[in-house]
Symmetry: C2
Subunit: 255 residues, 2 copies
DNA sequence: GATAAGCAATGATTTAGGTCAACGCTGTTA
DNA sequence: TAACAGCGTTGACCTAAATCATTGCTTATC
């Protein structure tokens, strides 16, 4: 029971999010994230089958569409927006384990319960597959399994990096790591000098991701600005003059 | 180039670690971890093929057999002993990302470099496969891929738990979590009241796993003993009278 | 059996980051 | 146009855990 997902066209919201030709889309071959998602592992004719198993959905900002510990009935493939994944302690302490966006696959689990929660940060679009349906798809198209294994391996590497950050880095190193990570998300390997990033998450999200408090994130960003390493613009946009310096800080070259 | 692995029978060490019938073992169907490892996904006749690709090795305590950042030429399947996986910062700060033992598969990575290091804690035995060989095996036996995906998914769940621990738990909660985790390793789901665990890792290993210092681990264990929650015996053996209390502490029910 | 090296425990002191509190800005509701 | 809520920043103060230092084991080496 995915808690109250906002299915396309059934929400009371303005329709501007519904791109022409997407309502009740059954043709994955024209999907905007065809190149990114698990679907990239399939040929056009195979996508035909996938289409029948997929339900396209829109999730409004702040909406939790995977409840931690609930029955894992579905898999999701994100086709737009940014999602935060998290785990919580009974008393409310929260750790964000990752931010994921377009092309990301969600819900892989051996257990029958989700081990984490997922909340939309901005307006999110996704494809939903029922567990049995996806499993039969995998049965039929082993290339999809290959793709999932690759994605899981990548996530594992990211998780290990994050453990190093949470266990051993200082606040300054953590914030620098986060910013540099955002640079990589936006620019890939080719990060220009004098780069500019803009991200949807709040200071509280960043704090919960880095294992810090909002105050420390705020202070640390101010510190980086004072040192001429970043410029804090209005909203969630940050300029980075010397990405290499930021990277050095992120990896312990204090400065 | 796996740095100086100690191949069976080629080391100058006493032979007592070499169990009869294992030298140059080419028969995986009698393997002692048949039920645990990736090999469990295969039928007996398929194991015949696997045997030809595997090289059995012994790794002495303290020996690093995967060097962080080195070329990922091989995969490993642990058949005995305990291994610590870790990541380091240039200045030497170290985070242990996991302890793994019998049946665990190592080396899954999309990149051509290992993202982590691996060091034997006690006497370790393992099967080594070359990357291309394992890949062709997977090609041939999709069930193996299924098995790897399941293992990766489980590791991901463990990694998320560890992120919650490192980012949001207190020292006491971390140590309690570690001890309870060890109880689960030893007893599975059926943890008896008045349990007893014995583990091979040092206080320094535990500290690097929990993102603490040795002193804090030591003090925290002493604190738990003072509170009558554990008994610290000589060596690396710890008694736990009330596992349920420990679990409660691990999840934030302060006490 | 003296010396050294590795591991664990504990005490004294310091500090990085948390907590508590105030304030400013922007956008929304009444 | 006031009241309010959400978000971010900054200051004052506090504390959990780090750091530094000492001691007491074992086990290994000469």
């Amino acid at each position: 029971m995915p808690p109250s997902l906002t299915a396309e066209n059934t929400s009371g919201r303005p329709r501007r999010f519904v791109i022409a030709g997407m309502e009740g889309c059954t043709n994955c071959s024209v999907c905007e994230v065809r190149a990114n998602g698990i679907c990239s592992a399939l040929r056009d004719d195979e996508l035909e089958l996938l289409a029948r198993a997929a339900v396209r959905m829109a999730v409004p900002p702040g909406h939790i569409f995977i409840e931690e510990g609930s029955r894992a009935t579905d898999f999701f493939n994100i086709t737009g927006g940014t999602v935060k994944l998290f785990k919580s302690l009974p008393d409310g302490r929260r750790q964000i384990t990752g931010f994921v966006s377009v092309g990301h696959f969600l819900g892989l689990a051996v257990s029958d319960r989700y081990a984490f929660g997922a909340e939309a940060i901005d307006q999110v679009r996704l494809c939903r597959f029922s567990r049995p349906k996806l499993e039969s798809m995998i049965e039929e198209f082993p290339r999809m399994e290959r793709r999932l294994l690759a994605e899981a391996a990548n996530e594992l590497v990211a998780a290990q990096d994050q453990m190093l950050l949470l266990g051993r880095k200082t606040a300054r190193e953590r914030v620098a790591s986060f910013l540099y990570g955002q640079l990589e998300v936006h620019y890939g390997d080719a990060i220009p000098a004098d780069a500019r990033i803009s991200f949807p998450m709040t200071r509280a999200d960043i704090a919960d991701f880095l294992g810090l408090t909002v105050e420390t994130v705020s202070r640390t960003l101010s510190g980086l600005r004072r040192d001429g390493l970043v410029t804090l613009n209005a909203g969630h946009t940050i300029g980075v003059a010397l990405p290499a310096r930021l990277k050095a800080i992120a990896w312990g070259d204090a400065g």
